[in-house]
Amino acid sequence: MVGYTIRRILQSIVVLVGVLIIMFILQSLLPDPARAIVGVHASPAVVHAFIVQNDLNKPFYIQLWHYLYEIVWQHTLGTSYKLNESVGSILKRDAPKSFLLVGVALLISIVVAVPIGILQAVRRNRASDQAITGVSFILYAMPTFFLGELLILLFSEYFHVFPAEAPQGSTVGQILAQPTGLILPIATLALVNFAGYSRFMRSSAIESLAQDFIRTARAKGLSERVVLFKHMLRNSLIPIVTLIGLTLPAVLTAGLITEFLFNFPGIGSDYITALTSQDYPTALGITLIVAIFTVLGNLLADIAYAALDPRVRY
């Protein structure tokens, strides 16, 4: 178990370095951003100075080396080309807000999807099961932004209950101070995640229900509630841990789109702004953070899987 954990951690670091290599190769394929950054009226000398200052005339592996050197020795992720601040401070300011949005939505979707999936498995093929399956099928097929737009049309255009724009502010506290603005973005993200998780939970619960330990629990005379929410729940939760790890990229992508749609001041909105203004250091920093969370999520899921299920041995 310890050996497995260490091996997985080393593997994750290799993957993260790989992510950086790919991002630097990608950037070296893109046109030089210098002219776009310093502006059309800048003299050639200024453009040249910008190129030299940012290593843009060096091959990508030298740039990568400098980047890694800065991370390890100076604990910095470079400076934004466009905003006069370091990428680190942008991330420090905006990443917590994004994780608040994504985290709350993820939590809600799991808390709702797990019991609903179990109930569907118990009432398999009855009207209620089929209705929920139908809803989750449609939600699953719906692009995040279309779902968000429908919620905006329904709740802020026709009924005027919730605002269509996310709260603005630079700290998590300021965001939380306007909770009504958070409802639609969180609902959008939670519904998108719910669609995937409830379908998975249903089939996982159907599999668990057919197993011997459920029959044993029932034969012992345990109440149906104890059987379902103690014996079965615990066993169906194991695959969902892996699923959360695996779906993290999709969850973060949905987060990016939700932020853009509701103008939420998180790193997703920053990413799109950075790309449209060719602010590569900011885009790179955000990609790196997202990759770290994806890799970390998978790592924790694998370790949790081994810890939760005594049958798993490495």
Binding site: L16, I22, F137
Partner: protein
Amino acid sequence: MRPLTRACVIESGRNRFTVSITEDLNPELERELAAPFASTPGASVPEGGDVTGSGSAWRLIVRSFFDNKLGILGVSLLVLLLLFSFVGPIFYHSDTTIATYNINLPPGPGHPLGTDPSGRDVLGRLMTGGQDSLIIGIVSALVSTIIGTLWGAISGFFGGAVDTVMMRIVDVLLAIPTIFILLYLETIYHPTVLLLIITISVVSWLTAARLVRGETLSLRTREYVRAVRIMGGGRFRTIVRHIIPNTIGVVVVQATFSVANAILILATLGFLGFGLAPPAADWGSMLSGGVNYIYDGYWWLIYPPGILIVLTVLAFNFIGDAMRDALEVRLQRR
């Protein structure tokens, strides 16, 4: 528990091998497996699971696919969408040039679904947008599935260091959410149908590669693969003629789901402003244009493209699910 011996025909390319499989089958499980066939009218499967008795394996798959109501629904939806996009323009002529004198017209005579902010007919644009969306979705799913299948089969077949390196590359690409890589590429280059096909294919072959690698790991130890190698078959011949044809079930199901995925990715790119530029159209870009008028009540700019995206994705998901079930039925009948 009682051991069962069954004849099993393995088809690999043009070669057929008959192998007998002895397996322990739980009698209760066996009854459960047999139950659906006993009650299916028309499918007369003799006791013991005779595979060749009632036609080829593919005919069985097709039959059980069409026993599935959702599968039929998916295929009909897809046929309707294809007719709408490709045959529709033949019967419905529309002017897709910019006409500032009739912008944002509500649905009415001459424009069954109104006009967009540039005065173009929405219904006509939905049709051309459908062509591009479906072509990009289907072709990029095909290309990415081919890349993924080859990658996974080579990785799994060779094993060892080759496998480690190839799979770490997959891990690395999986760690960066697809949209993040795509946005990088699309911000610089002006999206065209070809560019969108290439970029979406480049980022979506990973799942197929993982699945096919998993299948290959178990296939490469099979007797017939060893037989090919002993008879002097080369590695690439073994992979292309014997391993890949046997992963075709997984591959086809995965390809279907990846069409749905590609259409969602395309719609998202369009929504974020990185879709096809007018006069070309894709449903995502059209929807994105409608968002600006979300408070003006111009519903015809939002619902039609949104509903078409959902229907297309649903159709491919239904077909994929039905195909997976059909292929599992084949496995059970063995």
